[in-house]
Amino acid sequence: MRNAFTRYYSVILALIAWEAAARLVDNKVFLPTLTAVAATLGQLVLSGELMTHTAASTFRAVSGFAAAAAIGIPLGIAMGWYRSCENFFSPLVSLSYPVPKIGLIPLFILWLGIGNISKIAMILAAAIYPVVLSTYTGVKGTPLYVVWSARSLGASEGEVLRKIIFPYALPHILTGLRLAMGISWILLFAAEMIAAQSGLGWLILYAERMLDTPTVFAALVTIAVLGFLFDRLILGISERLCDWYTERTA
């Protein structure tokens, strides 16, 4: 209990500050109070609206994230392991990384239509970079003698990749996945600007137009909580899998 408090008391302080500031301002459109937002959230939950939007958004964010992981991890391993792949992909990655992905919205609509595919592709396009770069860094950092040890024990090329390179790079890969998860939720909003009918991003846009600031905040809080939960999930997985890496030696 005390542990939970020391862990999250900064959040509680921020919420108290918000409530105090909102009471001082005393303008629901300018800055609604925490209690007002909570009330709106309650209504959205009861009406089932929040569930619909959350489901739609989570599906998009997680699909984009999963695609980024599914393509980014093998690509990062290939780039870190095979010189030819590094030579081929490295300049392409550096060149395309700084391109603002939100600026590609019209192109994604043009190429992939206005359905979920273009939204997921949008998230994928942004979330793949931290996955590729972290995986690549992790593979590059595998000590040569560790690889040689495995080879002199009779490991084939595939076994070296699966049993040595992948586990050695795993802490870096999971860091990349954490960054990608965060980016997926950020990009979700941009993606749902593409002719969406549902989703938390769409809800924000819609409520803004109605000057319904409490609903805007309710949706923002929901995204924050979802992002937090998924981040903690990945963090928990990496602490479990990579105890050899995260735990400091005495």
């Binding site: 000590p143 003698y145 560790v146 040689w148 040890s149 495995a150 080879r151 002199s152 024990l153 009779g154 490991a155 084939s156 076994e159 049993k163 040595i164 586990p167 050695y168 795993l170 990579c242 105890d243 050899w244 890496y245 735990e247 030696t249």
Partner: protein, 273 residues
């Protein structure tokens, strides 16, 4: 000379060049030597003489620029579980337990069908290197000496014909190093393995070796091959200040000191040039 045993490993005129930022550096030049079955060969030389490079060539991790490395007459084309490796910084798999590290080689595809009673084999090796009770520990919880024992057991697990050791005790403190040398000698006698061992410590060479191959400063050439004509387990000899033990140390010191001297002069003249 008909009783001469056939060598396990032979180096035929081995040379090795490296590319260092556009410059070609000759690390080893025209090495001719052989390793006989059951022998403990120490490669001794000043630092940077290419003795580790020679070991990696024997392991098949590097390929020679000239000459040929052969095992039982067959050219060495890459690493093989017939030649176990032990490195100075242990090179353990940090995400695996002691048991999984030792058993790694046996868990690979080539070994899965060939070797039965893998568990018994791993148990025996863990016992041999005195790590009972630490089977489920991960490397980070072990001391340097214990880590190196895991590495030795791991290298022995695939039952290699020859074990190649690259300054295996170089990262250990003096006391641990002393204990590990004795343990290695015990294991060598117990398993009757052929060992090639790289070091820059003269005492270590005299304590362990049947033959010491003294290399020159870069580029490494064979300066002299010195047989250690003392019986194995030389700790008692050292305690008794055996005349021969001290003579051998003196001989190697002399061979090596001229090399260290030369390499220092070379470095200095290189600077003023």
């Amino acid at each position: 000379m008909s009783a001469e045993p056939t060598p396990i490993l032979t180096c035929h005129g081995i040379s090795k060049e490296f590319q260092d930022g556009g410059r070609t550096v000759l690390a080893l030049h025209d090495i001719h030597m052989q390793v006989l079955p059951g022998e403990f060969v120490v490669l001794l030389g000043p630092s940077g003489c290419g003795k580790s490079t020679l070991l990696y060539l024997m392991g098949g991790h590097l390929t020679p620029s000239a000459g040929e490395m052969r095992m039982h007459g067959e050219p060495i084309v890459g690493p093989s579980p017939k030649r176990g490796m032990v490195f100075q910084d242990f090179a353990l798999f940090p995400w695996l337990t002691v048991r999984e590290n030792v058993g790694f080689g046996l868990s690979l595809r080539w070994a899965r069908h060939r070797i039965e009673s893998r568990d018994a084999q791993i148990d025996r090796l863990i016992g041999m290197v005195n790590l009972r009770g630490f089977e489920n520990a991960k490397p980070r919880h072990l001391s340097g000496g214990m880590r190196q024992r895991v590495a030795i057991a791991r290298a022995l697990a695939t039952d290699p014909e020859i074990v190649l050791m690259d300054e295996p005790f170089g990262a250990l403190d003096a006391q641990t190093r002393d204990g590990m040398q004795r343990e290695l000698m015990r294991i060598a006698l117990e398993t009757n393995k052929t060992i090639v061992f790289v070091t820059h410590s003269i005492t270590e060479a005299v304590l362990l070796a049947d033959r010491v191959v003294v290399l020159t400063a870069r580029p490494g050439r064979i300066k002299k091959i010195v047989p250690m004509d003392l019986p194995r387990l030389r700790w008692n000899w050292r305690n008794d200040f055996s005349q021969r033990f001290l003579e051998l140390i003196g001989l190697l010191e002399e061979l090596l000191s001229s090399e260290i001297h030369d390499s220092v002069e070379e470095g200095m003249s290189g600077k003023t040039r």
